[in-house]
Symmetry: none
Subunit: 211 residues, 4 copies
């Protein structure tokens, strides 16, 4: 479901020729093709996307109100799926979580431009909000849930609020992956980080540390 559609609500189906889903895919894939080919972001114009996708400009504007809202959907289509959490322990869940952040940093680096597209989106509060709500926030919610379970199971201090704990766990990796994408993202980094962080965040007088 595109940003535009989500804003305008449901459309009654019957009237007139329906919009082609194939066209929608062609536009998003055409945009990706340009980005993957290394076309500088500033040269990825609606006009050029239309040419690449073999589509009229109006067909794009019928679906998205501008380049930025199109990019939200392009990014959404390019984002890797959220990871399956093992649920065996706080440590295991955190490692999987940070691993996915790390891999996203790597993937971003390989097709380096997607990274910039994400950065670009912050130019418009409206667009950033759309991306934040549909991609960033759900992910954060998953992490907060992991923290909550950790506190419930006695694996984590309860005198710090969940938000703070979440940022402490994810922040270091996120900074590397997103803000310094050219930094070291070696394998095993997630495990080392989690262990270093957990060392001081377990309950003070924890009877059973569970492993």
């Amino acid at each position: 479901m595109s940003l535009a559609e989500s804003g305008t609500g449901v459309e009654q189906p019957g009237r007139g020729r329906p919009r082609s889903e194939a066209v929608e895919r062609a536009i998003i894939e055409g945009t990706m093709k340009l980005l993957e080919e290394g076309v500088p972001l500033g040269e990825v114009s609606i006009e050029r996307i239309a040419r690449t996708a073999g589509v009229g400009k109006a067909t794009i504007y019928r679906r998205w109100s501008g380049k930025e809202e199109l990019f939200v959907d392009v990014l959404r289509a390019a984002e890797p799926a959220d990871p399956e959490l093992p649920g065996t322990s706080l440590r295991d869940d955190l490692i999987v979580l940070l691993e996915s952040v790390r891999r996203r940093g790597l993937a971003t680096r390989s097709s380096a431009i997607l990274h910039n597209v994400r950065a670009q989106m912050k130019s418009s509060p409206r667009i950033w909000a759309a991306y934040h709500n549909t991609v960033v926030e759900p992910r954060r919610r998953i992490g907060l849930e992991v923290v909550r379970r950790g506190q419930e199971n006695g694996e984590l201090r309860t005198d710090l609020d969940r938000e703070l704990l979440y940022d402490i766990f994810v922040g270091p990796m996120l900074v590397r992956a997103v803000l310094h994408p050219d930094s070291d993202l070696a394998e095993g980094l997630a495990e080392r980080m989690v262990d270093a962080l957990l060392a001081g965040l377990r309950p003070v007088s924890s009877p059973e540390t569970r492993h």
Copy 2:
């Protein structure tokens, strides 16, 4: 010294009318004025900057090769000064460091656009590198030095490399300040963070791990 000048090397001074420094200031301040007035970043064109500053377009191009390089200098002029470190203890230094990150997040929120300018710059690797080298990297260097002193003084585990430790300290606050600028940046946050993090990162053989 502007990015352009730094790239093109020294200019012999004598020949012809020298460039006016007043004009240079007018351009940078005109750009800031536009950004502070809430003009959307996409509408801050060279043409408009020239109009606002009462300056010919060519006068801008004579100094910077494009909008992005101009923005580097605008940002540099707007960045708050790096904080003075007390040097009394690792904990004190880290708190001052994180406080400055926090305040930068607050400042950014108030004049919200500078934030986006910074984001925008990631679109061009060349520009991002310039900003990174002259603003981001020096700051990181200061932080790494703090970490190094902490390890030397026996206030910090030495089995983790400095880069990792630095990211662990700064990452959580940076994520809040830069990636989620609408998140909670309450006063005292820096202190709480530093304490929570130091808890597990003091040397193992330290007599009192938690004061």
Copy 3:
């Protein structure tokens, strides 16, 4: 019968849903409505006509192959009927003829746009030919017949060919009515013109050249 139909030949009547004549009228009247409302000719698009007439675009294209051919029929519907000739004398016939030209000039001025539609049509030779054949030429034929009768009855010189005589009679009024529609088209003008022209065009051997 529309231009399109006349070109495509007879349609077999039986097959499927028959075309609605009401729709045909709605289209032509919708077009006139737009023109009478003073919509600039350039803004009278097929799309707008369809909207005004409450009709699908395809329904228009099913009947006419373009805006110009539609205009031929619109104009044809708007043209006033040819006048009844008294036949009592050459002078009387000519006056009636010129009067109708004059009145057409006046009508044109009041709903000034029809005039421009006619002008517009000259842009396409094909369209102009269609209009010429079905509207202009029949009228000319009537006038030539008047001239012929005048020569036969001895009211007109026979040493000048009919075409020339016709143009001499109609030209002056036509120029005023069509080319200079803001010129003087006072009542009685037709009579004065005919008299002035007939003065030198009666047969030479006529006993009384001027009554």
Copy 4:
């Protein structure tokens, strides 16, 4: 002097780079080239003119506010010069006058499109007025002067107003040349017309008809 300039009055000379006259010529000649090549009038877009003239669109819009006003200047550049009147007699002057109308009809036919451009211009009252004032009206003034001299010299009835006489002389030829450009415009036509018309328009009791 272009239509636009004539409307905006004098421009102060000094400020900024002056407009290139060569560019102005290139645009007008490019437009003519397209018309002469037989490009249908509807396909002569500003975009295409710009491409043909090797010029940016903005450069055209800087001088003319639209296609129609450009066409006024194109037409003005294409119009043949007004003829030199011999002044030896009314008959001679009229023949020269009608000859120029006839030749204009012929020229128009050869490069048939200019004719349509003129027709097209009637679509906009404003444009037509501009063309009328700078091309049509001056010509009419010359003709009226010929008529005036004819009456003064006793070569023409004085009981008919000059406007009427002028239309009677020029109308027949104009109708052929402009409204029916595919009609017969044989050589000698002007002479025959003038003689036929003068026959009845000389003063009634003229003592000396001056041959």
